[in-house]
């Protein structure tokens, strides 16, 4: 493994600034690593080598001229959900075959404006619908982590599975990702990386392929807490092109790292202790509580009574919004077209061939719950339950709790082609049981690696914060990271 690809973003930034390394060298090191590993891991669906080299050369020129941006020369991977001008953008779907947007998403435009280098597009569950990256049209991503003494291929989580695997396997310095129900935090937990879903409205959704618009939010996956803070500062912005972009200034998140948690009130919600939860998840949670207490935080027991209803409410709200958002894929304006005898048959044939099984399932559920006679019973009720879920959080924050500590996932990474989950879609959905509440309430949540299970696989903890208080999450996550240490997979690929 190249020493250059081992550098964190903060380390690479320092060495680039001092001109000890060049952006061109760094980019070439990553391109070589991708070429060697991608046939095995399948993390990238498109590598933009020429563009990367051109961007790196421009970065070296700016570094020489003293006009470097905050991410100058840092090679990043981009989830296939972000529109990148003239480059592969298919949201992991067959229905967007050949689509090359003539525009750039706001999030990626912000990164390039700060000098970052694009290595390519990262694999993902189709339209971000999945928790294992197995619904991708481009096939599953292989987790760089394996259980001790076992060479069975594991999933990297999803939907940002390519992002998490690429970061963990040193195939990019950091990656963009998106999170609708847990799609940043669950893959981060499965790969020993750090992922943050910021507050709804913090990152612009403009140019990001829509799944469930009231829940979708972009964020970074990185190798440590500091790198995640550096990336989020560049990704976040106030954007007139997104009506739900919040008019709140972007903070210097990196400056929050090192801030003490002494006296901070951390809530432990009793409802996150699920029946049948593995003992190792409970143990890592208790360990996190002990670390924060040792750092001077005040640990308080709290109750979020509507927690168990978040996942069922999500499986009404998200498919409903998806069925509406995905109506645009009709074979007329872009992507795949499958002919039919008339226009209607062309629509039906195109969507039958272009969407995978999970996307069809969710579009069908969404269509059903929004159809005449069922709207009140399903969608309206789910939106009322959502109000109650958000109020649970508001009540504990009003009582002085500054952050909430929970497990990130109910298990470690599982095998590709897991039979139980293939047979029952609800089993797969349960992966998001601890993360989905945060999307339903629009809050920021960060997943940070906390330890390894008995088989040597990473386990993560989640911190949930108050709206637009990402700084507290970075400060607290850093305390956990300092106590837990760093985790990296053994290189076998």
């Amino acid at each position: 493994m190249s020493e250059l690809t081992n550098l964190t973003i903060a380390e690479a930034r320092a060495r680039l600034e001092k001109r000890e390394i060049t952006a061109a060298e760094l980019t070439d090191a990553y391109l070589a690593a991708i070429e060697a590993a991608n046939p095995t891991l399948n993390a990238y669906v498109a590598v933009t080598a020429d563009k990367a080299r051109a961007m790196a050369a421009a970065s070296d020129a700016r570094l020489a001229a003293g006009t470097a941006g905050a991410l100058e020369g840092i090679p990043l991977g981009v989830k296939d959900l972000f529109a990148t001008e003239g480059e592969h953008t298919q949201a992991g779907s067959h229905i967007l075959d050949g689509f090359r947007p003539p525009y750039e998403s706001t999030v990626t435009a912000n990164l390039w404006a700060d000098g970052a280098v694009m290595l390519g597009k990262l694999n993902m569950d189709e339209f971000a619908m999945g928790s294992s990256n197995e619904t991708s049209h481009y096939g599953p991503v292989v987790n760089p982590w394996r259980a001790e003494g076992d060479d069975k291929a594991l999933v990297p989580g999803g939907s940002s599975g390519g992002s998490a695997a690429a970061v963990a396997a040193w195939l990019c310095a950091g990656a963009t990702a998106t999170d609708t129900g847990g799609s940043i935090r669950q893959p981060a937990a499965f790969t020993g990386t750090v992922g943050i879903k910021p507050t709804y409205g913090r990152c612009s959704r403009w140019g990001t392929v829509a799944f469930a618009s009231s829940l979708d939010q972009a964020g970074p996956i990185a190798r440590d807490v500091r790198d995640a803070a550096i990336l989020l500062r560049s990704m976040a912005s106030v954007d007139d092109k997104d009506t739900t972009s919040a008019d709140v200034p972007v903070a210097d998140y990196e400056a929050a790292i090192g801030r003490s948690v002494k006296g901070m009130r951390i809530g432990i919600p009793k409802e996150y202790r699920m029946d049948g939860m593995p003992g190792e998840i409970e143990a890592v949670w208790q360990q996190g509580i002990a670390w924060l207490r040792a750092a001077g935080a005040e640990i308080v027991d709290i109750s979020l009574p509507h927690t168990k209803y978040a996942l069922p409410a999500y499986y009404i709200v998200a498919p409903a919004e998806a069925s509406s958002n995905l109506a645009r894929y009709d074979g007329v304006r872009y992507g795949l077209r499958v002919p039919g005898r008339d226009l209607l048959e062309m629509y039906e044939n195109t969507r039958a061939a272009g969407f995978g099984a999970e996307v069809k399932r969710r579009v069908m559920i969404g269509t059903y719950v929004l159809s005449a006679g069922y709207y009140d019973a399903y969608y309206l009720r789910a939106q009322k339950v959502r109000t109650l879920i958000k109020k649970d959080f508001e009540d504990v924050f009003e009582a002085g709790v500054e952050a909430i500590l929970t497990p990130a996932t109910p298990s470690a990474a599982f095998g590709i082609g897991d039979q139980d989950m293939a047979a029952d879609p609800v089993k797969m959905y349960l992966n998001d049981v601890f993360t989905v509440t945060v999307n339903m309430a629009g809050l920021p949540g960060i997943a940070v690696p906390a330890g390894l299970d008995g088989k040597g696989l990473p386990l993560g903890l989640q911190l949930i914060g108050r709206p637009f208080d990402e700084e507290t999450l970075f400060a607290t996550a850093h305390v956990l990271e300092e106590a837990a240490g760093h985790f990296a997979p053994r290189r076998w690929w």
Partner: protein, 95 residues
Amino acid sequence: MSVDRDTVKRVAHLARIAIGEDDAERMTGELNAILGFVEQLGEVDVTGVEPMTSVIPIAMKKRRDAVTDGGRAADILANAPASEEGFFLVPKVVE
């Protein structure tokens, strides 16, 4: 509530997804599993609760009513499976 095979076929048609008999059979089971899972929302007392319309309390942004974009027909058609003379081409709709 649960769905039968005819309902699944009707919903597939509403969603503009062609499905065969085998697909309809399989999907009926899958959709019923999901509908069974979300059924538990019926336990929640939602009397007097407002449905959520915005997760973060922000006012909808407004902008000046002015033309800020346009003249990009070529960009818009660039990804079309079929187009001609500045139009998207589709199978005949009107006889």
